[in-house]
Symmetry: none
Subunit: 199 residues, 4 copies
DNA sequence: AATGAATGAGGATTCATTCAT
DNA sequence: GATGAATGAATCCTCATTCAT
């Protein structure tokens, strides 16, 4: 993840079989960076180029377009899980991490309203799985029987997350974070600092 | 000089200029139906085919991809405006109409969180315009100085709409409407019947 | 030729059958103006629009793309014939008129090296005809048995014209005229004022 | 996501990366042959087909329409440069090579009157560059201070070349060479054998 | 195991030409 | 006779995917 040039337009030599694991990581990193800026609808060749590997390597590690998206999102989800599992995790803190990821990644936003009629991610089981992992992580750190808002609102936890994800727009990270926080506030939910999880 | 129209083949009937208005309407209808299911990122040829016209007709009526999207969305917005302007309009009623459109059209959902980093619609002025028309319509029928939620949440009206749009997912209309209502309820907002505006 | 708006983007009403002759003239004028600027490879619709008529009118008067080019060029050739037939015509004067047309019209330049392998006009008999009319007009006003340059150079009159046409390039009329005159000078030919024929 | 490659059909053999150089050469050859006959305004797909490669290969090697034209013309220019740089080069000999290329390639003819109002090549810097390389090559082998024709004719070298290029027409190579020689003769310029440069 | 060229289908767009009105 | 909409083939170009090396 560090030994690979991430500036686009690099054409490195074949670094040999040893680089396999590193290549995978480089691809995920490259994909994350590109997805963050351009969304999921990007030529795969661009990801490979930015990762500094050939097209074939991408296909070796990820059988299709969804696989790499899943790998990128998996890292987001994992951080949220780690934040939830950490010593002294608070709901506010975990939601802060979740929110941070929402502001970082257009793809992650998409994940959380995946299964929408036009969702790029819908109809892919990995999206549901990842979404459920987020849900489990969040529930795990909330008080037993916790409910947001009105008592008759069903499934309110992930509903709230989806709602916030709908609010996260804007060109700059700062602006997106601002709107996300405003959204949580509208829901009456307190959210900790918006930041990545750092063990 | 660069075209070799096969001058031998049979041509389907040219239905003549009288068909122009009908064709335009057919294109908008076809686009709406396709957008509703697949979102805005659809081959234009598909729209033309479904409308039962040649590709050229689409380009004649709509100079580019945005133009037809704008035409489709404009109808959604117009209904909301009409609902807001109608005799005896109530906030709940207008929001019901708005919500109905959210449940009908993936494209309309997209409009209301346009300007997201990866938004298909962002960076197109028509999206901003339409979005502002929705805002004006809604504000016009709310009590003076109305605010949703917490008093320090900025710009809360459209923020709430964006949030609800984030919640609208699901394969069936029924399910989408259900989630939209749940979202409004989480925000503490009462919404009238979810239905199209009918003068 | 005068009653028709030549500014592009005009959409006049149907002016009725009486306008037929005027329409033809308007088309030729429009075509000439557009050809002068953009060359022959222009959408026919553009010509019709500039002429202020429908596409169909163009096809009524000119069965194909070549026909309108021929009509435009025919006017150039006619002026040269008139210059040659006029009272007190001199070779230098007629060549001046010819040269003026060369500097005015990319299409006319093309005519005079028509039948080149890639000539847009080649393979169309009208090009040969027009070219021959130019030749007859020029020969008619030269002294009997006149020859340019070396005595063994065959067909030297039209060869010289073709050569000069090859020299006529440049963005401005002034520059093109300058180069045309320089070309004639290289051939040792005296050319009168470069101007249109005015009876 | 926007592509539906028919994953069922048989694919022609992928001849592998080794074919790259050969493909490039095949494309240039195909382009030269087609340009010679039809000029530069040819569908790129035709070139690819004649070269026996897919469309994509053409775009891989040549990013746009100009690039392949430049590659083809560059070879013409290079031969002239080599002829000019060769041991014992004479003006007549170099002009013979130049003339040979004029008779071979409609595209090369076009290059030498590039910047005409409707010239396909004008406004492309590569055309000017190549044209200047021809000029330098010719000047380099002419006697110091050489001038063609009248002493007041400006820029007479390339003017003469342009003039000859205007004269080069005709269906057969023989005829084109004949007219080219006649043109040079009219200018009083002696030209050596019309043939390609062979080191 | 990596490279990156080749393939070709698909989508966007333009325009010659026809023809209902 | 005029209008201008409709048609759709042709061209451009992109990119997912395969595969020789």
């Amino acid at each position: 993840m560090t030994q690979h040039p991430t500036s686009e337009e690099r054409r490195p030599a074949n670094r040999g079989p040893k680089a396999a694991a590193g290549n995978r990581a480089a691809l995920v990193t490259a994909a994350r960076e590109i997805y963050a800026v351009h969304g999921l609808d990007v030529p795969l060749s661009r990801i490979a180029r930015r990762a500094g590997v050939g097209q074939g390597v991408l296909y070796r590690h990820f059988p299709d377009r969804e696989a790499i998206a899943a790998a990128v999102l998996e890292e987001n989800v994992r951080q949220i899980e780690q934040a939830a599992a950490a010593e002294g995790a608070t709901p506010a803190g975990v939601l802060g991490v979740l929110t941070w990821h929402l502001t970082q990644s257009a793809a992650f936003i998409g994940l959380l309203h995946a299964d929408g009629a036009s969702g790029r991610l819908s109809a892919h089981s990995f999206a549901r799985e990842l979404s459920e992992r987020v849900e489990r992580a969040l529930r795990g750190c909330l008080p037993e029987g916790h409910r947001l808002g009105a008592p008759d609102a069903p499934d309110d936890l992930m509903l709230a997350v989806a709602m916030v994800s709908g609010a996260v727009t804007g060109p700059t990270h700062r602006e997106r974070a601002h709107r996300a926080l405003a959204a949580w506030r509208l829901l009456g939910v307190t959210v900790g600092p918006v930041r990545p999880f750092e063990g």
